[in-house]
């Protein structure tokens, strides 16, 4: 009954990747340097400006913070807002070379 009805309407259920693996949008990849990143260095939860500002919510609030490259769009906001400049934006193509 319910499924039947729902299939007659545009009834969407939540899940990741509506736009696909948006990691493929990236030209530059944000890479966190644990030697510079505050929580990574201190070993205690702190800072997390990158987590706060990531528009796509793909950075974890862990030690160290981790980036989900499957979906990171490479906008660079995290690198720009990181107070210690711990995040470098690295050419994606360099990783492709690495892989092959």
């Amino acid at each position: 009954m319910k499924d039947d009805y729902c299939r007659k309407t545009s009834h969407s259920k939540s899940g990741p990747g509506d736009a696909g693996k948006t990691g493929s949008w990236r030209i530059l990849r944000p890479v966190i340097d644990p030697a510079v990143c505050i929580p990574a260095k201190r070993g205690t939860p702190s800072c997390y400006m990158c987590w706060l500002y990531c528009p796509d919510g793909v950075i974890s609030r862990g030690i160290p913070p981790e980036i989900d490259y499957e979906y990171c769009k490479g906008c660079g906001i995290c690198a720009e807002e990181c107070p210690t400049k711990a995040i470098r934006m690295v050419e994606e193509s360099s990783f492709i070379k690495e892989d092959t």
Binding site: K13, P16, D18, Y48, P55, D56, V58, K73, C75, I77
Partner: protein
């Protein structure tokens, strides 16, 4: 008095899935992510056509974990009222009803239904994310596009009219709570949404959300541009609680420090203001100065004060 939320006390759970269709560096993404954390799961959202419709996903996939009703462009606030009516009729208590619309869906086509709901005093939160144009249809001017901005339908001379002051219009309805926010200050946004939810009636929150492709800057600067708008004094963060106006957060600090960044820094950082001449920028600077002079006069000058 609310305690201020900090990054570590912000809920960790995300209510928006990654891999959504918003452009890279979209400040709406920041505002929506943080806003939904403040609203929590016991919420129903109403969304009119806008970039948010697209961010929220294409059938059959939703990027948002909250229940959401997509409605026609003009009807966000009325639909929110309808949801409240149904929840009351069905005796469902404690569910937040929230309209979340773009500036076009708020200041232009949605204003009539929003005004009607304010006058009736319906109990919902209305959030306007202001990317200062009709972005979803390809960056045309809206009521809140600032003067001088190039858009797809003000392509040569830029917009000739001033930005419509929607929060002031909302305050004129004497609703219990009006606040302005910026995606560049997510914690302030979080706290204001939390506070808004404590009031009965229509609550209005206006969020400045820089839009990289629409405004002409690189995605990584989205937060920088948002902060510049506030630090130049061009966009103020304030609250109107039961008709009492108060600068808040970064704007309050600005008032205390009495030091605005030059408006020029904001304009020159964005492609959409490329045709503004130095004298036009100077004129806008004069206007900002005059507005802030009035704020400064309400506080004591820190330079004349001897701090202890």
């Amino acid at each position: 008095m609310h305690t201020k939320t900090n990054i570590l006390s912000l809920p960790e759970e995300e209510l928006v899935y990654p891999g959504n269709r918003a452009c890279a560096g979209c400040a709406l993404g920041i505002a929506y992510r943080i806003g939904l954390k403040a609203l929590g799961k016991n919420t129903i959202i109403v969304v009119p056509p806008s970039c948010l419709t697209v961010l929220q996903g294409l059938y059959p996939i939703a990027a948002t974990k909250l229940p959401c009703l997509n409605v026609t462009f003009a009807s966000t606030a009325a639909a929110a009222t309808g949801l409240l009516g149904a929840l009351k009729a069905r005796n469902r208590k404690g569910i937040n009803v929230v309209g979340w619309a773009g500036d076009g869906g708020t200041s232009d086509i949605g204003l009539q239904s929003l005004s009607g709901a304010c006058e009736r005093g319906d109990n919902f939160l209305f959030v306007c994310y202001d990317n200062e144009g009709y972005m979803n249809t390809g960056v045309q001017r809206s009521g809140t596009t600032p003067i001088g901005a190039l858009t797809a339908n003000t392509p040569i001379k830029g917009k000739l009219q001033r930005k419509k002051d929607v929060p002031a219009i909302m305050s004129a309805h004497r609703i219990p709570y009006v606040a302005t926010c910026s995606a560049a200050y997510p914690l302030d946004l979080y706290d204001k949404i939390k506070k808004a939810l404590t009031y009965e009636g229509v609550k209005y929150i206006h969020i400045h959300t820089p839009c990289p492709p629409g405004w002409g800057f690189e995605p990584r600067y989205a937060v920088k541009i948002g902060k510049l708008a506030v630090e130049t004094g061009l966009y103020e963060l304030y609250e109107v609680e039961n008709s009492n106006v108060r600068l808040t957060g970064a704007s309050e600090k600005l008032m205390e420090k009495r030091r605005l960044l030059p408006a020029r820094d904001y304009f020159r950082a964005q492609g959409r203001f490329a045709i503004l001449t130095d004298s036009q920028i100077e004129q806008q600077q004069q206007e900002v100065n005059a507005r802030w002079e009035a704020y400064f006069n309400t506080t004591e000058d820190p330079d004349e004060d001897t701090p202890d």
